[in-house]
């Protein structure tokens, strides 16, 4: 009977049409496509960086003091830094650090924020009041200042930076998901599910969570860039990655004393941050336009 079985395309016609529509809308926006391209490049560099850079050892503590602060050249496309290391290699290899930072912060924020948000929105009442009050407190904390305090207390280092930023990042997700879950709670299909005696867990898993995914995906993709930017900012204040690991913010922090005569030292890492954050933001913006068009808010 296999001959009469509907093909994959037929079975999922609606889904495929939806996806085609997304792709079509996304592709129509040049800025979204640019974002996609940058994000793809970023992931590629993070994945294959060590194999494509000319001096992979320069990110692990090599020194070449005879070659300090050389301007960009054929041998060193982005020039060299104050330890004689190849900046091109270090900038490329730092993508991995950034990727890791972005993923971890956003991941942690999602893991903490989404369940809390769903619980608050779905259960309402005292649960919601408690969760949202705590969230509001955290939201009112100036993120970078709290992160600064945390890192100053724990000591610098990427991990501490990530912890600090994750602590200030999750409340945004609670807010986002809570509003959505609150709206969904009163949707007829949820009421129907409740009426037929579905368990809370089932309702949450089957009805609430899937309907929250679009805004979460959009926010997460935007936050990737912003989290990297925040981590770089901490790096700049001197609270970033441990040497010799390359990290853009920390590189700029060192490089600023070499401005403007050794401009390449600060310019390339800064541009890398800018491009990456830009890419993720454009990408997220594009995603929002197609997945969550109603919410193009600040």
């Amino acid at each position: 009977m296999s001959a009469t079985r509907p093909s994959f395309a037929q079975r999922h016609a609606a889904t495929l049409r939806q996806l085609r529509f997304y792709a079509w809308s996304f592709g129509r926006s040049p800025s979204s496509m640019l974002g996609l391209a940058i994000v793809a490049l970023f992931f590629a560099l993070a994945a294959f960086g060590p194999w494509i850079v000319p001096y992979p050892l320069d990110a692990t503590g090599a020194m070449n003091l005879g070659n300090r602060l050389k301007p960009p050249s054929a041998a060193h496309w982005f020039g060299t830094d104050e330890m004689g290391n190849d900046l091109y290699s270090r900038v490329i290899l730092a993508t991995r650090t950034s990727l890791w930072v972005g993923l971890t912060i956003v991941g942690a924020a999602t893991v903490v924020g989404v369940p809390l948000g769903i619980a608050a929105g779905y259960f309402g009442g005292a649960v919601r009041a408690a969760i949202m009050r705590v969230t509001d407190v955290f939201l009112s904390v100036p993120g970078i200042v709290l992160a600064l305090a945390i890192v100053a207390a724990l000591g610098p280092g990427i991990l501490n930076g990530i912890i600090a930023l994750a602590i200030v990042w999750w409340p945004g997700y609670v807010r986002l998901v809570e509003a959505k879950a609150l709206a969904l709670r009163n949707e007829p299909f949820v009421e129907a599910a409740r009426a037929v005696g579905a368990s809370h867990a089932r309702i949450l898993a089957v009805h609430i969570l899937p309907n929250c995914t679009s805004p979460i995906i959009v926010k997460a993709s935007m936050d990737m860039g912003l989290a990297m930017l925040a981590a770089a900012s901490l790096g700049f204040i001197g609270l970033g990655a441990k040497p010799p690991a390359p990290e853009w913010g920390a590189m700029i922090s060192v490089a600023r004393t070499y401005m403007p005569n050794w401009w390449w030292y600060a310019v390339f890492p800064g541009f890398a941050i800018y491009l990456t954050v830009l890419g993720f933001n454009l990408f997220g913006d594009g995603l929002r336009d197609i997945l969550d068009p109603k919410s193009s808010r600040g």
Binding site: S29, P30, S31, R133, V134, D136, V137, F138, L139, S140, V141, P142, G143, I144, V145, L146, L148, A149, I150, V151, A152, A153, L154, G155, G225, L226, L229, A232, S233, F236, I237, G238, G249, I252, R256, M259, P260, A266, V267, P269, G270, I273, Y274, L275, T276, V277, L278, N281, L282, D285, S296, R297, G298
Partner: protein, 336 residues
């Protein structure tokens, strides 16, 4: 309305308490001895002890916490070990500078962001719109600390159009203190030269600080404007022959004010926080710089003070925005 405000104030107090708990915990998670820093590198142990006693750091943490809370109720944020002065005095000294910067940035953000958002919305999906959105996203993506340095090098070092850092030329006497905001004070006392001097110092940091805010305002205004322009009442207005210019500039702008206001409320605290970076780059002696230098010195009372101040600002800003919403939005005005 009064009840609403009272409730909000009570809630704000509760949230401040939460904030104190958070910052206090954060400040004490790691073994750090700011007293050693204050005592100086050569100090003997008993000298460090003297300072520790003086600042109550020798007490058990719960006691320190209770004392801090007690002080807080009387408006006392403790003393900075590094400056030896009460944190409230330091904040009073540095906050006006930050406030000046943030107000200027907000103004910039609104003056540029709102029109750009409107233009972008009117020309939706055409070249200027794509360009504007690209600029908006760029402004968010630019690392403020990096771009600030670049601007500084361009305008101050290479072109020598603007001063490098600080708030006034060294020899310019500050205007008679009124608010501590030099721009305001110099205007109030009619010192135009001083005003120009202060403005030329504030331009770059304010510009850099305004970028994310500007982008937000732009984005929100664009979205709101698109929504408004697509709304039935705009269709109706157009059907009644009201010119497009008037529809965009007057009717829709009024609708756009509310979300802009909300953004300002949201961004207010956020911008106070991000002065941490901008003030570091531009040597702007405000609370951001104060927080950074204190944090690096392990001097946590000032960090807590700054956090609380910004948190309080955030809460108050939101309260004001909520109240203003009620005033500006007739739909909420009569609502209970």
């Amino acid at each position: 309305m009064i009840l609403f405000v009272l409730k909000r104030v009570a809630l704000t107090g509760l949230m401040l308490f939460g904030l104190v708990c958070i910052t206090f915990t954060v400040s004490n998670v790691a073994p750090s001895d700011p007293a050693a820093l204050a005592a100086g590198p050569d100090a003997t142990r008993d000298m460090v002890e003297t300072i520790r006693r003086e600042y109550g750091l020798d007490r058990p943490l719960p006691e320190q916490f209770v004392r801090y809370l007690g002080g807080l109720l009387q408006g006392d944020l403790g003393r900075s070990i590094v400056t030896t002065r009460p944190v409230t005095q330091d904040l009073a000294r540095y906050f006006p500078a930050t406030l000046e910067l943030v107000l200027l940035s907000m103004t910039l953000g609104v003056l540029v962001g709102v029109p750009m958002g409107m233009v972008s919305a009117v020309l939706k999906n055409r070249a200027p719109d794509h360009a504007t959105r690209f600029v908006a996203v760029s402004l968010v993506a630019l690392p403020a600390f990096w771009f600030g340095i670049l601007l500084q090098l361009l305008f101050s070092v290479q072109l020598e159009w603007l001063p490098t850092s600080g708030r006034l030329e060294v020899a310019t006497p500050p205007p008679p203190p009124l608010t501590g905001m030099l721009l305001f004070d110099s205007l109030a006392s009619g010192q135009w030269a001083t005003f120009g001097d202060a403005l030329s110092h504030a331009v770059l940091p304010a510009l850099v600080l305004s970028f994310p805010c500007l982008a937000s305002i732009l984005r929100v205004n664009r979205a709101e404007m698109i929504e408004v322009l697509g709304s039935d009442y705009v269709t109706a207005a157009r059907a009644h022959g009201i010119s497009r210019l008037r529809v965009v500039c007057v009717l829709a702008l009024r609708n756009a004010m509310l979300p802009t206001l909300a953004i300002i409320g949201l961004r207010w605290g956020w911008m106070l926080g991000s002065t941490v970076l901008v003030e570091t780059v531009f040597d702007w002696p405000g609370i951001g710089l104060y927080a950074v230098s204190s944090a690096i010195a392990g001097d946590f009372k000032p960090v807590m003070g700054v956090t609380l101040l910004i948190g309080l600002n955030f809460m108050i800003a939101n309260l004001i925005v909520d109240i203003l919403y009620g005033v500006l939005d007739p739909r909420l005005r009569t609502a209970p």
